[in-house]
């Protein structure tokens, strides 16, 4: 939701970040509009170059295999990806089995244990509850 230094990563790292998020969004089947909007938001926040965004969008049809994207990934970047992948996976309202499998693979690269991954998913849920509250005082 908020900027977090991702823009200081190299252009190649930011593309890899976005490609993994596309993989997560597509893990449970065809991408829906909510998932595309989320990926576009993440690419915007990471301030990806417009041409890089076109490259990433090509993955909407056929995402890059996760193992390929995770190869030689900086563990600290993997941690940021894990956090944002958990947010992307939750967009359609639930964690699909394939999404969870992919999250566990990213967690392994990030050095996160199962309990840490579980804590991250709880954090995502808290974020959902926070975000929904805005609608209450906006009368939605």
């Amino acid at each position: 939701m908020f900027p977090d230094g991702l823009s200081h990563r190299s252009p190649q790292e930011r593309v890899r970040y976005a490609e993994i998020l596309v993989y997560i969004a597509a893990a449970d089947g065809e991408l829906v509009r909510e998932e595309i909007a989320t990926i576009e938001a993440m690419m915007g926040r990471a301030m990806l170059h417009p041409e890089s965004r076109i490259t990433v969008r090509a993955g909407f049809e056929q995402p890059i295999p996760l193992e390929q994207s995770l190869a030689d990934l900086d563990p600290v970047l993997a941690q940021i990806i894990l956090r944002d992948a958990a947010l992307v996976a939750a967009v359609d309202g639930d964690y699909d089995r394939k999404e969870l499998t992919a999250l566990r693979k990213i967690a392994k690269v990030a050095g996160a244990s199962n309990s840490q991954l579980s804590a991250l998913l709880d954090w995502v849920k808290e974020g959902w509850l926070w975000f929904e509250k805005a609608g209450v005082f906006l009368g939605q």
Binding site: P3, D4, R33, I39, Q79, R83, D84
Partner: protein
């Protein structure tokens, strides 16, 4: 990022939403990296066409007046724009007087309750706290 409804708005309303955010981004004549990242994030959420994106980025260079922005804005698009304008105003850590005045004007234009901006600012602070907890969770992974 989180479940949102901006992408469900009609195309013209998404454009009006983004135009208001462009106005907010330039209100203090400064555009920090944090504000730009937030602006680009919201632009992404709006799923604008390439032509609309170009027009919005042009609006960043030469911002429209608040009155022009508000002419096009009402209903749900307006409320979502106010919500995200509050987040953008707070993105650099402070909400200055010009920003606060603009937020109150938007709220008044939309006919929202008097404390709407205050409520949204409190809500944004809670959001920052939530995000900080996310960073702290990541920090624990490094131990």
């Amino acid at each position: 990022m989180l479940p949102d409804t901006v992408h469900k708005l009609p195309r013209e309303e998404r454009f009006a939403y983004a135009r208001l955010l462009a106005y907010m981004a330039r209100i203090d004549n400064e555009l920090t990296v944090d504000e730009m990242a937030m602006f680009e994030q919201r632009l992404g959420t709006a799923l604008l066409s390439p032509g609309q994106r170009d027009a919005i980025r042009a609006a960043l260079k030469s911002p429209p007046s608040l009155e022009e922005c508000l002419e096009e804005l009402s209903g749900e698009a307006g409320r979502l724009a106010l919500r995200d304008a509050v987040m953008m105003a707070a993105a650099d850590g402070t909400v200055d007087e010009d920003e606060r005045d603009a937020l109150e004007d938007i709220s008044e234009h939309l006919g929202l309750r008097e404390d709407a901006v205050e409520q949204l600012l409190d809500w944004t602070v809670k959001g920052y706290k939530w995000m900080k907890e996310g960073y702290e969770l990541l920090d624990t992974l490094e131990e």
